[in-house]
Homo-oligomer: 367 residues x 2
DNA sequence: GTGACAGGTGAATCACAAC
DNA sequence: GGTTGTGATTCACCTGTCA
């Protein structure tokens, strides 16, 4: 059960969403009382104009008032203050996770270090289904960065190595996590059917963090609670939570959501398990990695055609340019062609299918 | 061919490794002269006591916390200075890449923003074969972070979108790159058979950066040259390089290494171009050339609208007059419209996009 | 029930040449 | 330097509808 209470209570208000400014609220809570803090602060995106998809539909940008800061100085001041208040609440062996993007994460990371926190890892959330870059002007922004830090250097923080290894099919958990963004039924909607919060985080992310960095019964604080993903996952996993959220609309959605959560929901565990598909290897990687040289010639399996490799991983043949598949299809006058099995290269007089190189890369990726 | 010259030369010393402190050397080079900077600065923060302040005084270790604080101050000062010197050298439309780990990248990112650089992406190098965390106390540190930034907000930086898309087999390149660490024959060894440099970067990483963010003939500066991966890949790809390196042992290894590199064939360096590079064809030319008749009707791709061609190359639809783009945008009630891909004409019962006619004209212009 | 297909959407610092 | 007009640009999902 969750309750919204007024800020400033001296006791530890477990499993409660507190309204108000997170710095004020935190300053009213008892010191050294919290095992883990998960924080998803405003990113300070600094968006200017409107953005449209190639089909002319409008991108629903994060332009909420709470993400607006007048300058880096103002943002830094805000960051410094909430990090200081948060650090006071942490038990000596507690730890903090903060998530952000390139807009703010460097400010946050520096402020963490300056405040005396000790960074343990930066963890990259690689999104399996990110929004593309619609104008082709930059790389797809396909990840966010999380920083995991202890209260002090040398602290005996909680790290459930074996549990994480088990989650990762017996292999040591790495600092990059591939997880989908929050969509579908998990994404909370308001009365109009619009998304209730612009930046709701997936439960799988919190699941992994709480399994890895807390024990059952631990107290988890989220000072930017939003619609309560941290609280929902904490309840499922038998951890206690404290949420702080300024916007009453978010608090109401979160209350209802957490009310409906059952502890130890088996489904949530399965969401986290990673699917292992055969990794896609772009042909360009053979060139980047020096396995094939730009300018080198490839020969078709039937020896009737040849083409030259270019530095961007495309081929040039007689009046054709394009991918290994496109050039193969054109030369064979076929509707399609599997370039991987069509093309060969020569080494020491031997003709070798390029697919051999792809298999080499895949073998590396298995480890 | 590469030469080591003394620092401070006023002219641009292309394809040269310069000995000396990178800040001093950069301050002696001409402003606005470099297209790209790749920097792999010292990570440093672990090496307490070995860090020197800019005035060369040594940082004292008083206690852990003080030492940590003073280390950050000194590191920030160093970072600020080399980033400032580097920014002076960048052409207005040049860009910079900096690589680091969680020990230093947050300091670097903040300093970049404070110096006026504009971050374009943070890119994660996800190592396919990282060193495991032997003690099981943290996540396997399986990635490093790169920051890509332009000299100013709004600068027209180079981004070869199509070439990168080709490298990735037709899918937009993401901000997370999976590449192996530098091992095997690529890893340079010294006379004793030990690795010549502790943090040699893989050539594949530089290949992707240089293909994506420079054009052939561009000048690439690396102020922390080490054993010269940047120079080697720049030479292969027909870019000019300038390296700065303080340690003579590294310079010697780099000299030898780059000497042995062969540049790729000119045509192999050609890369898939963007459509913007193609010559502009006014729609009116299709009418002038008789490919379309005045009075002829065009149909929208979705068959929902039609419009009539006028002799001056404008269209008339229901209550609209204007260019193919303007009329399309109006009829679709869209903020903009690419008329070339929106409109079709009819010939012998077939519906054909007008872009086919533009391609015919462009093909003629090639000859 | 099932499959095909159309439609929608996600923390985004997202154009540029000609006049 | 400001204004105007051309025309370039998307990936991996999810949902709901209809055959």
């Amino acid at each position: 059960m969750t309750n919204t209470i007024e800020k400033g209570a001296a006791a530890l208000p477990l499993n409660t969403i507190i309204g108000g400014d997170c710095i004020d609220v935190m300053n009213g809570l008892p010191a050294n009382s919290v095992d883990l803090i998960f924080a998803d602060p405003p990113y300070n995106l600094q968006l200017k104009g409107q953005l449209h998809r190639p089909d002319n539909s409008k991108v629903d940008a994060v332009d909420d008032h709470w993400d607006q800061f007048s300058s880096f100085v103002a943002y830094d001041q805000f960051t410094k203050e909430w990090l200081k208040a948060a650090r006071r609440l942490l038990k000596p062996n507690g730890s903090i996770w903060v998530i952000g993007s390139y807009h703010n994460i460097f400010r946050v990371g520096s402020a963490l270090q300056d405040a005396g926190y000790w960074i343990l890892n930066d963890v990259v959330w690689r999104k399996s289904n990110p929004m593309p870059n619609f104008r082709g002007k930059r790389f797809t922004n396909a990840h966010e960065t999380m920083i995991w830090a202890s209260k002090n250097e040398g602290a005996k923080y909680t790290f459930n190595y074996e549990a994480l290894k088990a989650l990762n099919e017996g292999i040591q958990m790495r600092s990059d996590w591939v997880l989908p963004i929050c969509t579908g039924h998990e994404r909370l909607k308001d009365a109009n059917g619009d998304k209730a919060h612009p930046t709701q985080k997936p439960e799988s992310l919190l699941h992994r963090i709480l399994i890895g960095a807390t024990n059952p019964g631990d107290v988890v604080l989220d000072p930017f609670f939003g619609t309560g993903t941290t609280g929902a996952v904490a309840k499922m996993l038998g951890r206690e939570f404290i949420g702080i959220e300024r916007e009453s609309a978010y608090r109401e959605v979160a209350e209802k959501r957490i009310e409906n959560v059952r502890k130890f929901d088996r489904d949530a565990l399965q969401v986290t398990a990673s699917k292992r598909a055969e990794p896609r290897v772009p042909f360009g990687q053979l060139v980047e990695r020096g396995m094939l040289r730009p300018g080198e010639e490839l020969y078709s399996m039937n020896q009737r055609h040849k083409a030259k490799v270019r530095a961007d991983g495309t081929l040039v043949g007689d009046n054709v340019k394009g991918s290994i598949h496109q050039v193969g299809a054109h030369l064979e006058n076929a509707p399609s062609c599997n370039g991987w099995t069509y093309w060969c290269f020569k080494r020491e007089g031997k003709t070798i299918p390029i697919d051999v190189l792809r298999q080499q890369i895949r073998a590396e990726l298995q480890n």
